[in-house]
Symmetry: C2
Subunit: 429 residues, 2 copies
């Protein structure tokens, strides 16, 4: 059974704080394993990749192939149904349109002191995209990671994906083909992240690595942050639904279960001001779970991490939501604007009764790679900016350095840096 | 003596690759020490802070004070010379003006399918700013870190700074006062970063930590990335100067030494197409070093990490510069535009003969916190965006979900996620 809390109960503050603090952290064993894997791939390159891939994925890279060819990705697209192909293409077009608007503007201008100042954005040279194998092999994630990189102007995008027993999801390949990716390596896990960061004989290094993965993949990205750029440290998926009593309990139950079914560690939380609706949703969840092909996962997640929280009014929920800083937030009321205006920390917000979170997972356009584990306090969803960097620039005339140079000389001397001072002072009239 | 290379020599490619690869990395001993410090501060809070501060900084927090008061920072500003106060205020005003232009635009609109889509930027609640003590206690860094946070709209900014033997640089306090910061803690090192990230009884946790520090501070930030946001993994400072033979060798020598004097691990590299100029700069460096109060550091850095590289023409230098992806790049020629157009990877570029890098360290306006160690390949200087995050949002009407919902249902089913499919399908007409 999920947690049930009522904000009017005397123990509420402590119980809610426990819920906030329960967000999970990196496990020390995983961290040690990953350190060892990174070290070995760095030292031994492709030989280490082949060994780990045989051991973890039962795939012999040297016998059965290191890469998926562009012909295979094209064939995969032609092998899926027209309905799915159309759906992927609609999704790709909408994701591209949304992300085009994120492209940053360069700046360049001369100020009153005669100083030319500006900033120029450019794409990274190469990006690596991790695509999980097995249960979480999602073509939608291929589009959500690859399209922002393409829009940014990244020239080389390489996918790494484990192919357990040689198997690879044709929908993933179809999505790669739609996104225009021709470099797909059959390696996964921390060893694939190491290969992308350090490079091997076969796999050239990249500058940025993005994409979801299990705890080993996430820890490898965390450890290699600084050697490469990464999208973020990602944890289990989360949804918070803020709903009044005039929603259909079946809709709300499905929305909650759409996170629960991801993983046993996912979290779904309902805030409502209507006790009867809370009960109705709890019952609808129980009715819906057995019909799901993902019933076991959804059951485990809902029982361990689900919560239904009764509040006096929905406005009271908003500071509590901010403390959770959820990845996904639905505001299922007739007029969500007053509540939305009070949201400070959330990855993505779904406004009104007709906006289920899942529509954002696939086709709406905004990115579905979003900060989890309270990281919406300080980080944002994946965007074009994750694949670009900014170079500032400056140009001074003799008059400009005469105007602002003396202050630089004074500060450099005060900081005890005489060569700094000299480099400016020598140019003063 | 610094390294001397000539691009026409047969061994050049290998020697240059060695120079690129020599960028330094985290030391495993530092990493282990830092892990232990973070763990202890998390478990023991203020008691651990007091113990480490006594041990490393010979400062008894409980006897001599945990914090600098706002009255002390105000007094520090009134205690410095008018020249320095004016210089700090000019710097602050110019930094604020440059960073105001970085504030991102929100977006909100309805597309052809009737889907409302947008993104809203907001500041983090709290930022922590690390200010080194001792040799590298720079008031300019206080301004460069604090002002972007203020411009972003961060409500709480806390400084942590070690005060060895109780000493604190009055210029640092004056800069803090100008930047409007009233919370200054007398703690430093990895233990201060841990306190900011986890919070203690006295120091409330923050969301983002920025600011320069030694190897322990940098490693603490790296290890806590994900618990908090951080500016970047920073390493030793670097400059690359691309100069033709028509520069004053004294100016170029001072520019090179302005990085060398920072730290023995700093790096200064000159590319030129003029062998006589190369010799003249080398001689000017030798003449200037003994006159510097920072002579010992500059000597160590220049001998160990300095380089003068002769190229056939300056255009030939540009792909080499890109491989170094330097923090600072000066293009000291009459018309720098053609060279600048070819730069892909650099933190900040200084155009023309009258733009010494040091003017950018203090008063020009762009940030002096820039990516080092080849990280300009994928990261940018500190900006207002480091203190903000973006929340995407979405709102669908019944017509909009009818238009795009079926594709979401198809993809959710293909990914084996039935609750995702149901949450959309239940709302379709």
């Amino acid at each position: 059974m999920p947690l049930r809390l009522d904000s009017r109960d005397p123990g509420f503050a402590a119980a809610f704080t426990a819920l906030v603090d329960a967000r999970r952290e990196a496990n020390e064993d995983v961290s040690r394993d990953v350190t060892a894997i990174l070290k070995r791939v760095r030292a031994e390159g492709d030989a280490a990749l082949a060994d780990y891939t045989q051991r973890f994925d039962r795939h012999d890279l040297n016998a059965s192939g290191w890469a998926v060819t562009p012909a295979e990705t094209r064939a995969a697209l032609h092998g899926i149904s027209t309905e799915l192909r159309d759906a992927l293409e609609l999704a790709a077009a909408r994701i591209a349109a949304y992300h085009e608007k994120q492209k940053p503007q360069d700046s360049d201008g001369v100020d009153a002191a005669g100083v030319r100042l500006g900033a120029r954005w450019s794409a990274v040279d190469a990006a690596g995209l991790y695509v999980p194998g097995g249960r979480a092999a999602y073509p939608s994630s291929v589009l959500m990671n690859a399209i922002p990189a393409k829009v940014a102007g990244v020239e080389r995008i390489a996918i790494v994906t484990p192919t357990p027993g040689g198997d690879i999801n044709p929908m993933v390949l179809a999505a790669a083909h739609i996104a225009g990716i021709e470099e797909v390596w059959r390696v996964g896990g921390a060893q694939a992240i190491a290969a992308l960061a350090y490079g091997t004989d076969k796999i050239r290094p990249v500058d940025v690595i993005t994409g979801p993965g299990n705890a080993w993949v996430a820890e490898a990205k965390r450890q290699l942050y600084g050697v490469v750029g990464i999208d973020m440290v990602a944890g289990p998926s989360e949804i918070v639904v803020v709903a009044d009593g005039r929603n259909d309990p079946e809709w709300t139950a499905a929305d909650l279960l759409s996170q629960s079914e991801h993983d046993p560690t996912s979290q779904s939380i309902l805030f409502t001001d209507d006790a009867a609706f809370a009960d109705a949703v709890a019952q609808a969840v129980e009715r819906q779970i057995p019909a799901l092909s993902t019933a076991a996962v959804a059951r485990a997640s809902w029982d361990a991490n689900g919560a239904i929280i009764l509040v006096g009014d929905l406005g009271e929920a908003m500071p509590l939501v901010d403390r959770l800083a959820p990845e996904h937030l639905e505001l299922a009321v007739d007029d969500p604007e007053p509540l939305f205006a009070r949201v400070r920390h959330a990855g993505s917000v779904f406004l009104g009764r007709m906006t289920p979170e899942a529509v954002g997972d696939y086709v709406a356009g905004p990115n579905h790679v979003l900060p989890t584990g309270r990281r919406a306090r300080f980080s944002s969803g994946l965007s074009v900016l994750d694949f670009m960097k900014r170079t500032s620039f400056l140009s001074l005339t003799p008059a400009a350095i005469a105007a602002i140079g003396p202050a630089a000389v004074a500060l450099a001397k005060a900081e005890g840096l005489p060569a700094h001072a000299a480099s400016v002072a020598l140019r003063l009239p």
